[in-house]
């Protein structure tokens, strides 16, 4: 899946480390999410959506 997590994070002026701390995940996980190497669990996806006050489908979308 693709996502615009990097853009959302940059708009808030957060580093990957800071976003990771806010979401209680590692910087490695944030990087893997942003580069599309890893798709989050439903729980984490909703956590991210709540953090940025956006619907999940606005942040994560199917490549097709």
């Amino acid at each position: 899946m693709k996502n615009n997590l990097r853009e959302l994070r940059a708009a808030c002026g957060w580093s990957q480390q800071v976003l990771g701390e806010r979401l209680e995940v590692s910087r490695q996980t944030i990087n893997a999410l942003e580069t599309g190497k890893y798709d989050p669990s439903i729980r984490l996806a909703f956590k991210i959506a709540r953090m940025f006050d956006r619907p999940v489908e606005e942040i994560f979308f199917d490549e097709s």
């Binding site: 209680e24 995940v25 590692s26 490695q28 996980t29 990087n31 190497k37 890893y38 989050p40 669990s41």
Partner: protein
């Protein structure tokens, strides 16, 4: 995980010491030795599951993948070596050696998997 090396070394040292200095132990001594020698590994297994539980979802996934692969490789080595012992006459492989083999494979696999997500 920092405790792995210590636990495996403690296990190996106790195992070696017992096999060097203890001959024909009684049932009670045998039970005590088994518990004593296995203790570092049991403690390590408990600590490792606490460690994996504390990881985030990606790191936990990578750890479990590494465990699955290392366990599979160790079992395969044991099985193949057993066949080679029978038909090729290779030296007997002590089953206890499978654990350090699994630990080495686990460390290698985890390192490779982690690098893929850097």
């Amino acid at each position: 995980m920092r405790h792995t090396t210590g636990a495996v070394l403690a296990f190996a040292a106790l195992h070696l010491a017992a096999s060097t200095f203890v001959e024909a132990p009684s049932i009670v001594m045998g039970i005590l030795l088994t518990v004593l020698i296995s203790a570092p590994l049991i403690w390590w297994a408990y600590e490792y599951q606490l460690y994996v539980k504390a990881l985030d979802e990606l790191q936990s996934l990578l750890s479990l993948q590494a465990i699955a692969i290392s366990a599979g490789v160790a079992l395969m080595i044991g099985a193949v070596w057993n066949v080679a012992e029978k038909y090729l006459g290779v030296p007997h492989l002590n089953a206890a050696m499978l654990l350090p083999i699994a630990v080495l494979v686990h460390a290698t696999v985890l390192s490779y998997l982690a690098r893929r997500y850097q």
